[in-house]
Symmetry: C2
Subunit: 143 residues, 2 copies
DNA sequence: GATATTCCTATTTATTCAATAGGTTTATAG
DNA sequence: CTATAAACCTATTGAATAAATAGGAATATC
């Protein structure tokens, strides 16, 4: 399995924030409740997204989190790339990996590059906006 | 990272066997030496491929392994599916996973299904034959 | 000044991955 | 027949990573 809870949770939070976008900041406690994820764990995940400018965080009473761009300006790829250690399908393609001494004779590295490419293309083609529900209240059901 | 050493090694072995196909059986020791992988570890990996009919194994002196089909009849997907626990990009899509109670409201499960589909299609489109070197010596370059 | 929030660092726990170890069975060669 | 070379089988260990928790420090609002 490829995408850890960190990445999956991060994406869910981003969609949640996109759907609950408003003037004031949305406190993590609210997101955690809706998404049924531990507050403390979410904290550690959101830190990176704030540091990289995908979210703005505001401390103190009335604080919380907020998207810094409209939802259609975020690709899933960007969010996961910041959250996961790597999106590479195999260790030898990870950034900072030691150069494989077999690379020149390896019959499979080309396949892995191709797979990486396919994954990146797909994740780069989907935006947050596409993962949101529309504002249509009839669409806002809960099971 | 998604594909473990088991899957990567298995694929390398299958390509190796495709390239060294001959009348008699190829002993694991020989493959392990060429691929620089521990014999014992390879054993445990090949077991599953034999059990599922992708390889034939012959015991005793003069024994070894052998492909059961021509290389173009194996897809990479098939080999990895037998070797990896799962090719699903997220836990909730793994076979036998507990049904997620949030599935009906989950905004992201569709994305993961799409990713899984893209991965399966790609891996299913490449065969062992395409990973082999041809017999053409001119093709036998090193980068 | 009380409170609600993000931010920060460290630690623990659980799970999975990777590999090793040691033996059993089976086929061939001499 | 016997020695040998091989696959086959089961269990265990060790290392790395993932997942989560804990406790507090800083900051903004009311």
């Amino acid at each position: 399995m490829m995408i850890s809870t960190k990445g999956r949770y991060a994406l869910r939070v981003m969609v949640d924030l996109a759907e609950h976008d408003r003037e004031d900041f949305v406190p993590l406690k609210e997101i955690a409740r809706r998404q049924e994820i531990s507050e403390k764990y979410l904290e550690s995940i959101l830190k990176g997204l704030v540091k990289n400018g995908l979210l703005r965080g505001l401390r103190g009473k009335g604080g919380g989190y907020k998207l810094t761009r409209p939802p259609e300006k975020y690709t899933v790829r960007e969010i996961l790339a910041l959250t996961e250690d790597s999106l590479a399908p195999v260790a030898c393609l990870e950034e900072g990996a030691a150069k494989c001494p077999r690379e020149a004779v390896c019959r499979t590295v080309g396949l892995w590059r191709g797979l990486y490419e396919v994954i990146n293309r797909y994740l780069g083609s989907v935006t947050l906006a596409e993962l949101m529900r529309t504002g249509d209240p009839g669409d806002n059901y809960v099971i």
